[in-house]
């Protein structure tokens, strides 16, 4: 039954895209910064997970806890040292800065881990039968965790004091500042949260995919496709588009081969950019 097979495979893939794209969207929404290094943080997180589980022989849950925290620290550092200094500058500067950061991170990852592929065999191995389809447990777990973390972050944004602060900084920084919100602290926390989400996505990717330092550049394009199709800055749009694009990628790869299959996503993104840049659920981008 290839249809159910492809559908389930695609939705499971979409879960990780959702987590990654939501982090990217969160950062863009609050800071108007497109983080080109987002994918490379994911790649470094995945490689660190392998190092922790295989190299140091620590249990997998250590990576689940430690890696996102490390990524949050890295994100806070990037925000404090680099992005904070160019907050008032034109968008071209932050684009160039995160783009440069991305190449630096890839290069460091190659120096540390080498250019080859690695993986995490034996963690969450085995498979389950769902709707008559064999589904590997690692993909099922990574899907469930990715979706639940995305939902939790959404809940935080919608219903907590911190979330209200984040949304008000996103909507009107000056008014937020007048109302007594420490916008610098909110931005720092947002960027750290966004990179931590990328880090967690990296941990989840490790057992399910073959990973290498170039993984980031492959994932970031898909995450871009997700936030463009879903609508930039729209959280539910990103989650919906992630699942949709996961299915499209899996179906496309099945019929046209893996290389062309992932290029489909980009063509879809280009089409959306050319015809309806605000995406499916986006309310348009305020600048």
């Amino acid at each position: 039954m290839p249809v159910a097979d492809l559908l389930i495979g695609g939705i499971l893939l979409g879960g990780v895209y959702a987590l990654m794209a939501c982090g990217l969207n969160l950062i863009f929404g609050v800071m108007r910064v497109i983080n080109f290094a987002h994918g490379d943080i994911l790649a470094i997180a995945a490689l660190s997970t392998v190092s922790i589980a295989v190299g140091l022989k620590l249990p997998f849950w250590v990576a689940i806890v430690a890696v996102p925290i490390g990524c949050a620290a890295l994100g806070a550092l990037i925000q404090a040292v680099i992005l904070r200094r160019i907050e008032g500058a034109p968008m071209i500067m932050s684009l160039l800065a995160t783009y440069a950061l991305s190449t630096i991170l890839v290069n460091i990852a190659i120096l540390i881990w080498g250019g080859g592929y690695s993986g995490l065999p034996g963690v969450l191995s085995g498979s389950l039968r769902v709707l008559g389809v064999n589904v590997s447990i690692s993909r099922l777990v990574s899907f469930a965790s990715a979706i639940s973390v995305s939902l939790v972050v959404w809940w935080v944004l919608e219903f907590t004091r911190f979330g209200r602060a984040v949304r008000s900084v996103s909507a009107a920084p000056e008014l937020a500042s007048i109302s007594g919100i420490a916008i610098e602290r909110v931005r720092l926390a947002t960027f750290a949260l966004g990179t931590a989400m990328a880090g967690f996505a990296g941990v989840l990717v490790a057992p399910a995919f073959a990973i290498d330092p170039q993984l980031g550049s492959r994932f970031i394009i898909k995450a871009f496709a997700v936030i463009i199709v879903g609508g930039m800055g729209s959280y539910p749009g990103a989650m919906l588009a992630a699942l949709l694009l996961g299915v499209i990628e899996v179906v496309g790869s099945y019929f046209a081969g893996a290389v062309i299959g992932s290029a489909f996503l980009f063509l879809l993104m280009l089409a959306v950019l050319l015809v309806r840049p605000r995406g499916l659920l986006g309310a348009g981008v305020r600048v």
């Binding site: 863009f28 497109i34 080109f36 680099i82 200094r85 160019i86 907050e87 008032g88 500058a89 034109p90 968008m91 071209i92 500067m93 684009l95 160039l96 800065a97 783009y99 440069a100 950061l101 991305s102 190449t103 630096i104 890839v106 290069n107 460091i108 190659i110 120096l111 550049s217 492959r218 394009i221 871009f224 496709a225 463009i228 930039m232 046209a256 081969g257 290389v259 062309i260 992932s262 290029a263 980009f266 063509l267 993104m269 280009l270 950019l273 050319l274 015809v275 309806r276 840049p277 981008v285 600048v287």
Partner: protein, 322 residues
């Protein structure tokens, strides 16, 4: 010191460029070709990135399209390399027109994201359609025995790019592009047809890189997807413009000269950290010198010669509006 004439400097530079292939080694010619190709890429990027202020991460995509169009024409039908380069230039423009015609150019962030993925997707297609492009094996062209014609063609193109940028800088068109960069809404309200000018700058900036891609393939005698769509090509070009000074006439030239020396040293000695080093240069330039070497020299009075060239030096490039 005051007596230095910009015209004299230009004439001397021109004579040196003319004589170079006859007095120097093959290595110097080969190095100069690479430098000049980067110079053309940098000047092209400067039009859309420097003047119009639209971050363009996809220029290497046009370079790669040109490389493949030129190589395929040359390989299958024996089209001479200079005609193939002209065809490649048309192919670059033909690709840019529909991309620029869409609504992507409305906002800088859409454009940046859209162009960012272009190169990697084209690379995927070059790998995937291996019956046409040879896939990962690439295409081997007949090696060129004499590099000098290539040198002269590339040098001429580079000179034309410089002259065109100089003309642009001293024209209303250049001012309109700078107005778009500084405040697009204000430019629009002054009656500047922003969308048309942006698309024009984008398409114009795609032509020369495509031609250079085709020539680069001939120069190497070989093309494969990682070479045609190399990310470090993109990063190096941007670093050159940023380092020299975005939206200036001499910025790309200064940046290309400065960075290609750095490149040569890095590639020769530390190829494994090349990308990180260029990345660090870009980052430092963004943080500490967003207006580039040229404006730094301008401020400190290093570059007295050719002062009129800096007349239109953008005042606010990379600075917080205050």
């Amino acid at each position: 010191m005051k007596g230095i004439n910009p015209l004299a400097v230009a004439v001397i530079a021109g004579l040196v460029a003319l004589a170079l292939p006859f007095v120097s080694s093959d290595y110097a010619v080969s190095f100069s070709i690479q430098l000049l190709i980067f110079l053309v890429l940098a000047y092209s990027w400067n039009w859309i990135g420097g003047y119009a202020g639209y971050t363009h991460f996809g220029q290497v995509g046009f370079f790669g399209i040109g490389a493949y169009v030129g190589s395929l024409l040359n390989f299958h039908w024996g089209v001479p390399w200079y005609l193939a380069a002209i065809a490649a230039a048309f192919a670059g423009a033909a690709t840019a027109v529909p991309l620029g015609g869409g609504r992507m150019m409305k906002k800088g962030q859409f454009f940046a994201i859209g162009m960012f993925g272009l190169a990697s997707v084209l690379e995927a297609f070059a790998l995937g359609f291996d019956s046409i492009t040879g896939g990962g094996t690439g295409i081997y062209l007949k090696p060129v025995s004499d590099l000098r014609p290539i040198y002269y063609v590339v040098a001429t193109v580079a000179m034309i790019m410089l002259l065109m940028t100089w003309r642009l800088d001293n024209s209303r068109l250049g001012l309109k592009l700078l107005a778009i960069r500084e405040d697009e809404n204000a430019a629009e309200s002054l009656g500047i047809p922003t969308t048309r000018l942006k698309i024009g700058a984008f398409v114009a900036s795609a032509v020369a890189p495509a031609a250079m891609g085709s020539i680069y393939a001939v120069y190497l005698g070989f093309i494969d997807p990682p070479t045609a769509f190399a990310p470090n090509m993109e990063l190096t070009t941007i670093a050159m413009v940023l380092l020299g000074g975005m939206g200036t006439v001499l910025g790309p030239l200064v940046g290309a000269l400065a960075l290609s020396v750095v490149n040569e040293v890095l590639w020769a000695n530390y190829p494994q950290i090349y990308l990180a080093c260029v990345g660090v240069i870009v980052l430092l330039a963004v943080l500490f010198m967003p207006r580039g070497i040229v404006s730094l020299g301008m401020k400190n009075g290093w570059l007295r010669i050719g002062r009129p060239l800096f007349r239109r030096l953008a005042v606010n490039a990379g600075q917080a509006p205050s």
